[in-house]
Symmetry: C2
Subunit: 413 residues, 2 copies
């Protein structure tokens, strides 16, 4: 028996209806925030992702040569494709450009709870603006999305990669070794960072002060300890977010976001209910367009791990009620099948969701099927009632039945 | 500058909003017909598509080996994946199972008008039922979808592959050469079919009668000429469709649908406005599940070429009106930026789509931007008005301005 490939999933109707409903909530928030959707191809020139993340990214890409010998990769994320699309076709659009996306991404990694090889990301980018207000828009929308989904416990942590980069430069780490140091700081591997910094010639006291800085975590009051321009920037950002009603924030200068391309503000949201793999959202401000052949343009964006946040909601016990359909039409005998077809078509034409027995089932079985597809009403079409212009409407919950006009079944219901 | 791969497209916001709107219409029809959505992975074991279509399919697949040495292929269509998902996880569901899907499919072929390497299909399958009512459901829904999109000129042609298969067997073509003959009939290449049939030993008169059969085209009255069970079946089907209000049908026994896996009724819809590449929809009844390791289950399905039907609509001059947003909030000076942030958040919280200047623009430029994003109103936040609890609401179409309460901007609008 052929199965779906490892790390991928089939979404059957019950599960998918739930996912679409939550997707719809995220779309609604994006629309209210004035973001518009953009869609890019499932695969790109592999070069795009190498330019963004370095050749190391290849080991976790689904990459291959197409029949025209092109190096192709299934997208592992959607920021690079969106910025490529911007460079190719939206350069002259009035700024800021506010776009969101939702779709499949692909990473060849070991599947585990909440981590799939085909996974779904919902994200947004604000292209062409580099103000605290820009970052506030992104964070406020992420917060609104998490809240709108109904997730009860979550934490948003805001940092500034500029603070760390500045400090790293100040204590004498050359540019070409910054990534190496940041990588250790990202994972709080201070014991591994120490020999590297010593090797570079950084004084031990400076190294420890750097570690302290990445441990600067707390309410917005810790911003008093954040030096320089970045501190001023973050205070302004937190102020705007306060005006927007986003107040449950934590400052965490240890937010590095891997070896990513962020330049200034960075943020993450996590759901503690998920345990070790608790991150549900991440983003920040960056520039990428110049890597793809465009002018340098500042942007801020974030992505929500859709599978991950749904897992968190499930673990919090958030329930979803399946929708069902309005009516299931059952012809009692073969001689009324055509009449039943007329009736189901009329119901559909009037905007109702309606289905009809197509297997010639007897009443008991047909009612059982109607129940299984969550029909709210069964419309029972019998010869005798039909001759009087009527059909029988059965409330599937209560079992109550009554005769109603065949051409106006739901009048008064 | 990196472009999107050949044969793929970026959908920028204006275009995508239109596509989503049309997708929503198709989703609405599917829902009213009692179909529920299913989603399968973007890629599958390549074997799945070889089982369905034979190894010849490989030449037009995007297939590759993943890092675990699996033979993988991007899906070229979604019926095989849906039936695989049925075999894997829906075998015990009450029948019939009515599902629809929408998503990207991939074929490595030369891109041309309306034909892309990444293209979109909207389709449906009714699994586990083999009655004329089943086929009627599928055809009626396809017709309703085409009509709901507003396409003015289209033709639905219904055939029956069983009629041809029976006749081909009757005149002495052995089973292993049936595909070869059908392939020529599909393309109406009678001159190429003649030597094949002669080689098999079919009498010339029988060959010509076979060609005549595939040329049986016309209104439902030509059904009188269709022999045997298949004729009876098609007459019943057309009768049910009549009850469902689907009457603009053509009978065409020449509909073969390539070398596909159909067993009985087959149908196609075409939009003449598209010229040579006019097919917008195709389907029929089939069995596939037994190929994928399940029991043999009868199904009927169809797929709409989403890109193709949109192209037809465009060629017919069907226009789409972009949506825009409700309000664009403009702070007149820096000292009211926080107040403006409060206002935009309040509008969003009340369900309005609202945006705010994040670039500190002067009034004229901000209004120009509001216009470019199709804001219906500009909300101008000035110090003086704000001190009186008011803001200025500007109708972006008429330019008319009036003072409104800051905490209830859209009262009476």
């Amino acid at each position: 028996m052929i199965q779906c490939p490892r790390g991928t999933r089939d979404f059957l109707p019950d599960e998918l209806e739930k996912r679409r409903s939550y997707e719809g909530i995220l779309r609604g928030v994006a629309h209210r925030f004035g973001f518009r959707e953009i869609e890019t191809p499932i695969f790109e020139d592999a070069e795009l992702f190498i330019l963004r993340s370095g050749p190391g990214v290849l080991k976790e890409l689904y990459n291959f040569k197409d029949k025209g010998d092109r190096d192709i990769a299934l997208r592992p994320e959607m920021t690079a494709p969106v910025i490529r699309a911007f460079v190719n076709g939206m350069g002259s659009y009035p700024k800021p450009i506010k776009v969101f996306y939702f779709g499949q991404c692909f990473r060849y990694e070991r599947p585990q709870a909440g981590r799939y090889r085909e996974f779904f990301q919902f994200g947004a980018e604000i292209i062409g603006s580099a103000t605290p207000e820009t970052d506030a828009e992104a964070i406020a929308m992420a917060a609104s999305m998490i809240k709108s989904l109904g997730l009860k416990e979550y934490k948003i942590r805001i940092g500034h990669i500029g603070v760390l980069r500045q400090r790293i430069a100040d204590i004498g780490v050359p540019a070409e070794r910054t990534a190496e140091v940041l990588q250790k700081l990202d994972k709080k591997l201070y014991d591994e960072a120490r020999p590297i910094l010593r090797d570079i010639g950084v004084a031990d006291a400076d190294a420890e002060a750097l570690f302290d800085l990445t441990e600067t975590v707390g309410g917005t009051e810790v911003l008093d300890k954040v030096p320089g321009e970045a501190g001023t920037y973050l205070r302004e950002l937190v102020g705007i977010l306060g005006s927007m009603g986003v107040e449950d924030l934590e400052i965490d200068l240890g937010v590095v976001r891997g070896l990513d391309y962020y330049t200034g503000m960075v943020f993450e949201a996590e759901a503690p209910v998920l345990g070790a793999e608790k991150q549900i959202c991440g983003g920040g401000s960056y520039t990428l367009s110049e890597l793809f052949g465009g002018e340098k343009v500042f942007s801020t964006g974030f992505a929500i791990g859709f599978d991950r946040i749904l897992l968190a909601m499930e673990k919090e016990g958030i329930e979803y009620e399946q929708e069902g359909i309005d009516a299931y039409v059952i012809p009692v005998s073969d001689d009324v099948r055509r009449d039943a077809a007329v009736i189901v078509s009329r119901l559909r034409g009037s905007g109702r969701s309606a289905d009809i027995d197509i297997m010639g089932r007897k009443m008991a079985k047909a009612l059982k099927y109607a129940d299984s597809i969550r029909a709210r009403y069964a419309v029972i079409v019998g010869r005798k009632e039909l001759d009087g212009g009527c059909v029988t409407l059965r409330d599937m919950k209560t079992g109550e039945q009554r005769e109603v006009p065949a051409d106006d079944i739901f009048r008064g219901v």
